[in-house]
């Protein structure tokens, strides 16, 4: 079993020191889809960047398998952890097919020299994200939802054991959002560690095996959606009142008012 562990890490972000502290072990197992939830600025993105090895913790360490992430070479790290950022900006109007192939740059090959293994990984990514009809289109001509799926396919093409996705559902309609979550769940089912930062609490409860709730740079709750999404937690972290109900075995969270303090 592969484990990704954030061991007492502490990071300072930006020019205004706002330390994000993880107390105790925050551990992620393979085969599980974990959702990071919390208000804007709670520290989810910074934490994901630390897990991806893009920001070195000021204290503590990240352990993947049985080794500290700081002992990994950049190439080993890149082959083990795929990162899908929140920002969907693409600089040049490349074709969707080429963009997905960029995931294989991890293995030191140029795009003109992809081998059989690369093609298998790319084809798998295309298949699960259902983007085969978009491949020959320029990224500039795609809608937000189509672009999100192509970018997810790029991250999947890395074929890493860990997939970190930072708000992949931002600005997507419910259909596209559920499609993305289906893919993430399916990838977790294939034995990967999948961690996703989310704002849609119903989708988080519907799809994630475990949730980690962030507030002001700290983890305040961790566990199953039922345990984490309590009325007190929602009021404390999001300052909302929400209706919790069960529908056909699924937990639905519907915010209806701002909580007064």
């Amino acid at each position: 079993m592969t484990r990704l562990v954030a061991e007492n890490i502490e990071l300072k972000t930006g020019s205004h020191p706002a330390a994000i502290t993880v107390c105790g072990d925050c551990s992620f197992k393979n085969g599980f889809l974990t959702g990071l939830i919390g208000a804007n600025g709670a520290g989810k993105t910074t934490f994901l960047k630390a897990l991806a090895g893009l920001k070195a913790p000021d204290r503590g360490q990240i352990i993947l398998g049985d080794r500290s992430l700081s002992d990994f070479s950049p190439q080993q790290k890149a082959a083990s952890i795929a990162y899908l950022p929140q920002n969907r900006r693409i600089q040049w109007p490349v074709k969707a097919r080429d963009l997905i192939s960029l995931g294989r740059l991890t293995y030191g090959r140029s795009l003109s020299r992809l081998d059989q293994q690369d093609r298998i990984a790319i084809n798998h990514a295309i298949e699960v994200t259902e983007v085969s009809d978009l491949l020959d289109r320029s990224m500039a001509s795609l809608s937000g939802g189509e672009r999100a799926r192509i970018l997810l396919a790029r991250a999947l093409a890395v074929d890493a054991s860990v997939l970190l996705a930072d708000e992949p559902l931002a600005a997507l309609d419910p259909g596209y959002a559920m499609q993305i979550m289906d893919v993430l769940l399916q990838e977790a089912g294939r034995g990967r560690i999948v961690i996703v930062a989310l704002h849609d609490l119903t989708l988080a409860a519907r799809y994630c095996d475990q949730l980690v709730l962030w507030n002001q740079g700290r983890i305040v709750a961790e566990g199953t959606p039922e345990d984490v999404l309590t009325e007190e937690a929602l009021a404390g972290c999001y300052r909302i009142k929400a209706i919790k109900q069960n529908y056909e075995g699924h937990l639905l969270i519907t915010p209806y008012a701002r909580a007064d303090f």
């Binding site: 190439q75 790290k77 950022p85 693409i90 109007p93 500039a140």
Partner: protein, 341 residues
């Protein structure tokens, strides 16, 4: 049969580069043939074979061949430098002068003129230009150590370019006589007339080194399409990449300015013109831009010789005149495509 299908697929993958490369020999022959003394194709082939009219052989060996080599080399460096710069800075307006390298090199050369070193020793001028390019890099390195992102690099580069430009204007302002000012102005416009094999030799090292270093950036430039974080998560060391590009730029552009003066626009327009013929991947643009740059400078140099002007026009002026209309057309198309991203 398999050989032909492999050949066809190789051609399809590198179509742009192959087509541009096929234009090089006729362009080179044209460049060798045209000038104040016309050398026909028959005499040209005879001279290359080492027989025929000794005057034609002398003109070719001592004047036109080194001039052609310098043109090809300078064009290739500037073209590839432009493609790398645009890819790295993710800015279609980037060119080699954006980081101040061209201006700093030009300042070095102007100082050689101003203090009269250029008259004392033939290699003083290129040497000063080269030192200028490297000197321009030092404050930039200090600056980007504190601010590690492409935008800061552009800002630092613009500051160096502006400072070097101001120093050049000061030198012109304080110039002891109008002839010295004229000499500086003419050099600043860029030219490859009267270049010798010594200049070719001087350019050969920066040419090989910079093109080799630029080529090493190809995959990282592709990864940067998705931004710094994704490129880093794909295993690219962005700090190393920045050093690599800055070193290659100062070596290459410094060397080019050292032998030819400031030839503008090549690094800006060549990648722009060629980009629509690629898959828009920065890596695919590097070698075609090098060949395209070589073609553009050689073509402009032929053009310079064909124009019936009293004084031969400077190369930098002609590259701008040829390139800008094409650039304008391509830029409008490119901006439309970029807007929707």
């Amino acid at each position: 049969m398999r050989f032909f299908s492999d050949l066809l697929s190789f051609y399809r993958r590198h179509r742009l580069l192959i087509n541009l490369s096929l234009c090089l020999p006729p362009m080179a022959l044209l460049s060798l043939s045209i000038g104040s003394t016309h050398i026909g194709i028959h005499a040209l082939i005879q001279s290359i074979a080492g027989v025929g009219d000794p005057t034609a052989r002398m003109i070719l060996g001592l004047l036109r061949l080194p001039r052609l080599c310098v043109g090809l080399g300078v064009g290739a460096i500037l073209g590839m430098a432009g493609a790398v710069n645009q890819g790295y800075l993710r800015n279609p307006l980037a060119d080699p002068s954006l980081l101040g390298t061209s201006n700093a090199a030009a300042l070095g050369a102007v100082l050689a003129f101003y203090f009269g070193f250029s008259a004392r020793f033939v290699f003083c001028l290129p040497l000063f230009a080269f030192i200028g390019a490297l000197a321009g890099l030092l404050p930039l390195l200090w600056f980007v150590r504190r601010h590690n992102d492409p935008q800061s690099l552009i800002l630092g580069g613009v500051a160096i370019a502006a400072f070097s430009g101001a120093c050049i204007s000061l030198a012109l302002n304080l110039s002891p006589n109008p002839f010295a000012a004229m000499e500086i102005m003419t050099w600043l416009m860029g030219a490859i007339t009267d270049r010798s094999w010594n200049h070719v030799l001087l350019l050969s090292v920066p040419f090989c080194l910079s093109l080799f270093l630029f080529r090493k950036t190809a995959s990282a430039l592709d990864a940067l399409i998705l931004g710094d974080d994704v490129a880093a998560s794909l295993g690219f060391d962005l700090v190393r990449l920045r050093w690599l590009i800055m070193a290659a730029l100062s070596i290459g552009v410094g060397g080019a300015v050292a032998v030819s003066g400031s030839i503008g626009f090549v690094g800006l327009i060549v990648p722009h013109i060629l980009r629509p013929f690629t898959r828009q991947l920065p890596s695919e643009l590097l070698w075609p831009s090098a060949v395209g740059g070589a073609l553009l400078v050689t073509f402009a140099d032929i053009f310079v010789r064909l124009l019936p002007t009293e004084n031969e026009l400077q190369l930098g002026v002609v590259t701008a005149f040829i390139g800008v209309p094409i650039f304008f057309r391509q830029a409008i198309k490119g901006v439309e495509a970029m807007k929707s991203l």
